[in-house]
Amino acid sequence: MKELMYWNAISEAIAEEMARDEKVFVIGENVQESPFLATKGLVQQFGPERVMDAPLSELAIAGATVGAAMAGYRPVCDLTFADFIYCAADEVLMKAAQQYFIHNGEVGVPCVFLGVAGGGFGNGPEHSRIPAAMVMHNPGLKLAMPSNPYDAKGLMKAAIRDNNPVCFFFHKKCMPMKQAIPDEEYVIPLGQAEVKRSGTDVTVVATSYMVNLALEAAKQLEGKLSVEVIDPRTLVPLDMETIVASVKKTNRVVIIDEDTECCGVAAEIAQQINEQAFDYLDAPVSRLCAANSPIAGAAMEKYVIPQLPQVIKAIETAAGI
C-alpha cells in the first residue's frame, strides 16, 4: 500500500494503461506540463509522441481524438477544464457519442475525455462548471466522476479500457485528498455505485466532491440521524439497483449534485427512483444542487454551489426533522 494524492492516482492509472497497451496515448493543451497534474510525469516516461501537446483548440483536439480512436487507438483527451467540453461539443456529443450507432456497431470510438470540474476556488462562470447533466443527456457517452483517489485510479483504468467514449470529470476540491492505494492492480467497473457509509434513516445520493460533503454531514449528524451515503461513481451507466435498495431500506432520499439544478442529474435520479421505488417512499425525493445560475466567482461562489451547512439542512429535511 502507498498513499497517493487524487491527481497522482489518475496519472498513475494512465501510466499503467499506457504501459499495458501501446495504443493508449495522451493529447491535450499543455499535457506535458500538466497544470492540473493529471498527466504529470507521463512525458518523461513515454515521450512526446505519446504525450502530445496540442494547439489551443478543444474542437481540434477532440476531433483528433475521435479520429485516432476510430483508427484503432485509445486516446486520453485532456480538455483541461471540463467547461471546455462545450467548445468541443460537436466532436464529443455528435461524433464520439454517435459513431458506433451510425456505423451499425462496426466502428467504435474508445477514448477518454478528461476534464477538471467543479467549483471551490472561485474561478468564475467559465471555469467552475461540472457539465454532468449535458453528458448524461447525450446517449452514447459514459460518465465517471470519482470522489476520492482510490476510485479515481480504478475508474480511469476502466475508462481507458472501455470501448465507448468516456467523460472523466475529476474535481478540483478533491485534489488535496490522499488515500492508501493497493500496490496490486485493480479496476473499478463502470456502473457500480458504492455505499460509502451505511445508515437507516435517510439515503443521500451524492456525486463527485459532494460525496465528501455528504460524508462530513453524516458524521456531524451522528446520534441524531443514521445517514446512508451512496456514491454512484459513474452517472452513465447509473447503478440504480444500489440506490433503489437503499431507498427501500430508508424510505427517504436526497440527491446532492454540484451541477445546476434544472433538468439536472438529481432530477434524472429522482425520476428513476419514482419509477422504481415509489411505494417505498415516505417523503418526496428531494435534491440539493447548484442554483440555477452561472457559477459565481470568488466570494460569491458559495451562494451558488452547495456548502456543508446546506447539505446538513437538506439531509435533515429529507429525513423529516
Binding site: F278, D279, D282, A283
Partner: protein, 438 residues
C-alpha cells in the same frame, strides 16, 4: 333490457356509500319502484328503488364501500340477460358497464345524474399519505382516513402508520391495554353473535360491528381529536330572561305554528355572536385559516338506529344569521324530524361552520359537557340542562335557573381570547335577550 343499479351522488360532498342491505336476494324478481337496496352515505341511509321490474343481479356485497357512479347491481328483464349479467357482473364491476351499455335503462334513481359507468369527480379532500405509508396501511387493513398525519401539511408518513398499528384499534373494547391482535381479529370478525364470545379474557354478550353511521361518527370523533388541539371553556348563564322570553313568544306564536325551542334561541344567539367573533366561524385547512362568510350552524340530533343504538346526526341550518327566529325554528323542526326518519339529504348535513350540541333534553340534572369539535370547524358550543341553582343576585344568594354552557375550541386556530369574547356576547344575549336586536 339490462338496467344498472349504481350509487347515486346525493350531495355535493358525497364520494362513496356503503352497501348496507339488499332487500332482495340474487335472482329475485323485483317490481318497478320497489326499494331494492339500502346504502349508507356518510351521515344518512338511503333507499334505492328499482327503476324497472326484473330479476335482480347483485354485484356489490353488503359492507362494500363503493364510489358514487359505480355499478352495484343490475336488473335483468329476461333470463338471457340475467345469465349474461351474472357472468359479467360477478367477475368484476369494471366489465359490467360494457354489458349495460346496450341497456339504455333509466338512471337510478330519478334524482341521480345521467347514468354513467364512470365514477364521478367527487369533491372532497384527498388523504395526504406517503406512498410507503399508503402501502403499509393497506397491508395492515387500516383506513388511512383514520390516521393522523404528522408529516408536512399533515401528510401521513411511516411512523404514523406504525403508531396506528401499535395501538388497540377496537372501539368496542377501549379499556384493554396490550391487545393480542389475533384475539381482536377474532372478535371483530364475528357478526352479531348469539352466544357469549370469549375475548381478552372476558366474555362479550354481543358484538356490534363498527359500520355505517357508527363507523362514520367513530372516525370523525377520532379524526377531530387527532388533528386539533381542543380546549374546553366552561361557564354558566342565568336563564331567567330567556325562559320568560320563550314563554311570551310561545303564547303568541304557538297557536299559529310550532313552538320556539331553546335550541332555536341558541342558534339565533350563536349566529349573531359568531358574526361578532369571526374567528370562531372558521376552519383551518392546510396552512390557511378560512374565515367563513356564511354562518351555517349545525345542531346535533340523537337518532335511534335499527340495532337499538343511538347515533348522532348533525343537520345544518344554513345562513342562520340571516334567518328570523321563526324561520330558524321551522327549519330546525323540519331537519330534526327528517333526521330522525333517516331522510336527510347529504347537503343538509354538510357545509356547517359551527355546531351546537344541546344536552338539555337529557333531563333536569345539572351537568356540564366538553363536546368534540365537528371538523373542520373551529369550535363547538355545548348547552346543558337548565336547573335551579344558587346564584348571587344583587349581593344576596338567590335561586335562579342556571344553564351550564361549554365551548370547545381549536387552539391551533385561536388562543383563549376569541372564545372568551364569544362567550361574553352569548352571555349578554342570553341574559338580556334584547341584546340580540343590537
Amino acid at each position: 333490457m339490462l338496467t344498472k343499479l349504481f350509487i347515486p351522488k346525493l350531495g355535493m360532498t358525497m364520494e362513496k356509500a356503503t352497501v348496507a342491505e339488499w332487500r332482495y336476494r340474487q335472482g329475485d324478481r323485483v317490481e318497478k319502484d320497489a326499494p331494492v337496496l339500502v346504502i349508507d352515505t356518510e351521515k344518512v341511509a338511503n333507499e334505492i328503488e328499482a327503476p324497472v321490474a326484473g330479476k335482480l343481479v347483485i354485484v356489490a356485497a353488503v359492507g362494500d364501500e363503493v364510489p358514487c357512479g359505480e355499478v352495484v347491481g343490475y336488473i335483468a328483464e329476461t333470463e338471457e340477460e340475467y345469465a349474461q349479467a351474472l357472468k359479467g357482473g360477478a367477475g368484476s364491476a369494471s366489465t359490467a358497464p360494457a354489458a349495460a351499455e346496450t341497456g339504455g335503462g333509466e338512471p337510478v334513481p330519478a334524482a341521480a345524474p345521467a347514468a354513467s359507468a364512470a365514477p364521478c369527480a367527487c369533491a372532497g379532500e384527498r388523504v395526504k399519505i406517503s406512498p410507503l405509508a399508503r402501502r403499509m396501511a393497506a397491508e395492515q387493513g387500516i383506513d388511512p382516513g383514520s390516521i393522523a398525519g404528522s408529516g408536512p401539511g399533515g401528510r401521513i408518513v411511516r411512523k404514523d402508520v406504525e403508531a396506528a398499528t401499535s395501538r388497540p384499534v377496537s372501539a368496542a373494547v377501549p379499556a384493554v391495554a396490550p391487545v393480542p391482535v389475533e384475539g381482536e381479529r377474532q372478535l371483530r370478525s364475528q357478526s352479531p353473535c348469539k352466544a357469549a364470545v370469549p375475548a381478552f379474557g372476558k366474555s362479550a354478550k354481543a358484538v356490534l360491528s363498527l359500520k355505517g353511521i357508527r363507523k362514520v361518527i367513530s372516525e370523525h370523533m377520532q379524526h377531530s381529536h387527532s388533528v386539533s388541539a381542543p380546549v374546553s371553556v366552561l361557564s354558566e348563564v342565568d336563564m331567567t330572561q330567556m325562559i320568560a322570553l320563550r314563554e311570551r313568544l310561545n303564547e303568541k306564536l304557538a297557536p299559529a305554528g310550532p313552538g320556539i325551542t331553546y335550541t332555536d334561541l341558541f342558534v339565533m344567539a350563536a349566529a349573531r355572536a359568531l358574526k361578532r367573533t369571526p374567528i370562531m366561524n372558521s376552519s383551518l385547512i392546510g396552512n390557511e385559516i378560512l374565515l367563513w362568510d356564511e354562518v351555517n350552524i349545525g345542531f346535533a340530533v340523537s337518532t335511534r338506529m335499527e340495532d337499538g343504538n343511538n347515533a348522532l346526526v348533525v343537520p345544518v341550518i344554513h345562513n342562520a344569521d340571516r334567518l328570523t327566529l321563526r324561520e330558524i325554528s321551522a327549519r330546525r323542526k323540519d331537519l330534526m324530524e327528517r333526521a330522525r326518519a333517516g331522510k336527510l339529504s347529504v347537503d343538509e348535513t354538510s357545509g356547517g361552520t359551527f355546531t351546537i350540541t344541546n344536552t338539555g333534553t337529557l333531563g333536569p340534572v345539572w351537568h356540564v359537557q366538553t363536546p368534540v369539535i365537528n371538523q373542520p370547524e373551529a369550535a363547538i358550543l355545548g348547552t346543558a340542562s337548565i336547573v335551579d341553582r344558587p346564584a348571587i343576585v344583587d349581593g344576596a344568594i338567590a335561586i335562579r335557573p342556571i344553564m351550564p354552557v361549554s365551548i370547545t375550541f381549536d387552539h391551533r386556530i385561536m388562543d383563549g381570547a376569541p372564545p372568551g369574547e364569544f362567550l361574553g356576547h352569548l352571555h349578554e344575549m342570553l341574559t338580556d335577550p334584547q341584546m340580540m336586536l343590537v
